[in-house]
């Protein structure tokens, strides 16, 4: 009886988990970033992702980077920077992560 309940529950949890998350930045992302942001490393992008999750998810559900174009993100983050009173350096790290992640192959 327990299996009857647990198996569908595990299937739902697995499906939810696979339904999407923000993957950690990779070497391919850093390589792609170099044309727009020379010298960008995986660590830079990882830090940008962390700042995005920590600073933005408190006010609204996070927007997946690929739902906007690379050129849309700087303007959107600039608007939010004012509202959320983000330090400029933090905002720039977030922008770099979002711009690079938005161009990742799907």
């Amino acid at each position: 009886m327990k299996r009857v309940v647990l198996l569908p529950l595990l299937a739902v949890v697995a499906a939810l988990g696979c339904a999407g998350q923000l993957p950690p930045p990779s070497e391919a992302d850093a390589l792609r970033a170099s044309s727009r942001y020379p010298g960008t490393t995986v660590a830079d992008l990882t830090r940008g992702r962390k700042l995005y999750v920590e600073h933005c998810s408190g006010c609204h559900a996070l927007v997946r980077p690929q739902t906007k174009g690379p050129d849309e993100w700087p303007k959107l983050v600039a608007e939010m920077t004012e509202r959320a009173k983000l330090p400029e350096a933090t905002a720039q790290e977030i922008v770099r992560y979002l711009v690079v992640a938005s161009g990742a192959p799907r």
Binding site: L16, G17, A61
Partner: protein, 259 residues
């Protein structure tokens, strides 16, 4: 019933407080989401819960005023003032102070960034004649424009002159973001009460729609949850629903603004 002063206070505060950054919106009323306020952010939430219909002509209102602050980007705490008013048959009470609560919430994973959002929650309430400890495990997930959330809730309550009671609740909800500001969903509550050392008293079920609107610096969420036929009724209960301690209709309005 004297609930106008609280509403007036909230509306006045919303009118005079400066516009600020986006608020930490809630899209559901009973089911919590994992989001916590950013570090240093503060919010004031006004809760109104209406409960209508028991065996007699019953109307009850619970009011809570909550001051919420983000201690870190993952940890938030809140302080509540609780009030209530009831009319049961011919007996009526005006708005009375019901105690204070302290809430703590810690977010571990995020519903978009991680496979599933998860947060832990604890609340201590000291009433005028009771105290209560409550814990929640909060799960949520955002898939596209759909929010899914589940809470497992346990509460231990001790009222003066009564045996302690244990309450277990499972809250499930789904909401769809219709626009950037508006969401519509469904909430389901399964509430169970157990008297300590005694048997399982009852298991009630509520389900209904929930509507939420979020602006830049404030948000409001309303749910209307009628009671459905009970999963377990106490002995002596003749109807399909539990109307001794539960009610036919439950509506909750949350209104919040950023300080």
């Amino acid at each position: 019933m004297h609930h106008r002063p609280l509403l007036s206070l909230a509306l006045l505060a919303a009118a005079v407080l400066p516009r600020a950054a986006a608020a930490n919106e809630r899209h559901l009323t009973y089911t919590y989401e994992t989001a916590t306020l950013p570090q240093g952010a503060k919010e004031l939430e006004v809760w109104t819960t209406g409960r209508v219909g028991r065996h007699q002509d019953f109307v009850g209102f619970d009011h809570r005023v909550e001051f919420e602050v983000g201690l870190t980007n993952r940890l938030q705490t809140s302080f509540y003032l609780n009030f209530s008013a009831e009319r049961d048959g011919t007996t009526s009470s005006g708005l009375a102070f019901g105690g204070v609560s302290s809430e703590w919430k810690y977010k571990i994973t995020d519903p978009v960034a991680d496979a599933i959002g998860f947060a832990g929650y604890g609340e201590l309430t000291a009433g005028t004649d009771f105290y209560e400890l409550e814990g929640k495990l909060i799960f949520d997930k955002v898939i596209g424009k759909t929010l899914l959330a589940a809470n497992i809730v346990g509460a231990w309550e001790k009222e003066v002159g009564h045996e302690p009671e244990l309450e277990l609740e499972l809250d499930l909800a789904a909401a769809r973001f219709l626009t950037q500001h508006l969401s519509l969903g469904l909430e389901v509550r399964n509430h169970n009460e157990l008297e300590e050392g005694e048997e399982w008293e009852h298991s009630t079920l509520y389900a209904g729609p929930v509507l939420a609107y979020a602006a830049e610096s404030w948000w409001a969420t309303l749910s209307v949850l009628p009671q459905l036929p009970a999963l377990k009724k106490p002995s002596g209960e003749t109807g399909a629903r539990v109307l001794d301690g539960g009610e036919k209709w439950n509506a909750r309005l949350l209104f919040s603004f950023r300080l």
